[in-house]
Symmetry: C3
Amino acid sequence: MTSTAQAQQPNVEGRRLSPEQVRKVAPALEKYTQDRLYGDVWKRLGLDRRDRSLITVAALIARGQAPALTYYADQAIENGVKQREISETITHLAYYSGWGNAMAAVGPVGEVFARRGIGGDELPAETPPPLPLDEAAEAVRKQRVGELYDSVAPGLVGYTTDYLFRDLWLRPDLAPRDRSLVTVAALIAAGQTEQVSYHLGRAMDAGLTQEQAAEVITHLAFYTGWPNAMSALAVAKDVFAQRAAK
Amino acid sequence: MTSTAQAQQPNVEGRRLSPEQVRKVAPALEKYTQDRLYGDVWKRLGLDRRDRSLITVAALIARGQAPALTYYADQAIENGVKQREISETITHLAYYSGWGNAMAAVGPVGEVFARRGIGGDELPAETPPPLPLDEAAEAVRKQRVGELYDSVAPGLVGYTTDYLFRDLWLRPDLAPRDRSLVTVAALIAAGQTEQVSYHLGRAMDAGLTQEQAAEVITHLAFYTGWPNAMSALAVAKDVFAQRAAK
Amino acid sequence: MTSTAQAQQPNVEGRRLSPEQVRKVAPALEKYTQDRLYGDVWKRLGLDRRDRSLITVAALIARGQAPALTYYADQAIENGVKQREISETITHLAYYSGWGNAMAAVGPVGEVFARRGIGGDELPAETPPPLPLDEAAEAVRKQRVGELYDSVAPGLVGYTTDYLFRDLWLRPDLAPRDRSLVTVAALIAAGQTEQVSYHLGRAMDAGLTQEQAAEVITHLAFYTGWPNAMSALAVAKDVFAQRAAK
């Protein structure tokens, strides 16, 4: 471990494995964790630590690796992610990663909140006043999906409108750009490249820069494996090209 | 929680997280769980609670979320799924979701059986008399797969015939329609859209209606995430169209 | 259980579920485990038990089923996989299956090493002298990836070169053929067929025969489910054909 890496690393103690335990099985893995993951990737410019924490939390939930949140949710707060943003990320991913994945995050994140003595004062309301809806964009989305699937599964199409785009996406305690960010991270983490195109475009509409998008994929290569990142990169390249051509 | 939702909800106590625990982390998630998941989706017409339980159990096994079966396998029995059907679902998914996924279900489901005092009297035999085989349909399937892969992996082609289609699929304690149903649910849950087309057609050949198929996908949107459901919906649309054109 | 199967089965006690526990839930699953998995698949010619253990370990890590390694890592050592090879497989899969999947393997594998009284003497060095690099092949790979993605995500392209192909792949304690083998197994296990083509070709360049490749897929059908195996088989067929046409 370089001393610089150590200095930048909040709460290493929160790791569930000690460096010694890792070294007894895979010495290089511990070295790479210190030098490359904490010592290099997390310090890259182009995406700040707060955003890196947010996408890491989302990726872990999407991959069913919620126990690691006892470290990463804590680190996220240290890096500037708000309690209410973590809470909303969990609720959001119930819809995008499955109910069980979201529920699995409740225990570990609850531990982190309790350990830090954070009460419920800052938690999002059950039904807060919604953000304003871009009615024009939503009409386009609704028509597109409706034409495709109204005759196939009207129930699911209805839920997509009512539960997702006219409710979940308008909840104010996670900014639209961040909501798209955690969605993209969850999709990459689960290898669901089919939907990356739409949600990456949406994230960029909401302010995510191309450089940041590339950094998201680069960061997630480490947490979700190179193959998921490379598949996402192919999609991102197309998204970038289409936006440049506009 | 609406009182109606509560009344319809068997064994909420079987949940491993209390509503209070969820509310301390994500109040909206608890509200959505009560109002939307239990209070809406599970009550939808078009697919009865027994079938919803069966596909939920299959989805959990396929996604490696077996611990949740301590609640959902119990609820399945409450909703009319037979002990032997749960047993067969586990055995079936050893082949379709991987041996480890099936084995992981044994502990939690064993707990449910024990808690309910269900002995082994109703368990499927190791080698029961098989259902009759549709020799013509099996000949077509075998020829199609054989032409593709006999020269590539004859061992796997042979197992597919001997272990799956001339054995597993003929086991009588899970009806062919239900066997296809848990297969489709497992495929959607794992994002394996490539095989959904064949198995959804097979399910419909065995009696699953188009409305039920749409409800399966709608239900699974909540348990396996919207992206898996939307990818499956595109496949289902094609399957429905091809069958309508016949 | 046939007595032959039993004789060939090292350390059945390492299983976390007793045969009795499995039989109380799914008698056929226990029978299939004995007769087909241990009694048939593991004994197939065309791929030796050492290779079968290696790909099983890789598949379990890739699927987030690390707890099963308390049995399968032990069995791997019994079957001739070296301690240093298991260690390198874990480090390798940090990059190919995600950091969390690799870290999850540390605990169970550490237990196996401790139980067997294997110290750290045989563990790979953090930074051992690298294997020689095939500069020509690496130049081709680098150019191909660079043309595609240098302008999109130069950071990730750089890591791919520096961390993977000029470092990880040259670590000497897992032979290149085996490194490709665990990569292919991890890809199949995670349903990442997109990258199977490149890595299967690489494995065959490094000495994996076509028969062995087919056996890898056949074996993994049981551990990762039929759908993943069938999707991989389609890719393998193309790879075999392209190589035959050369």
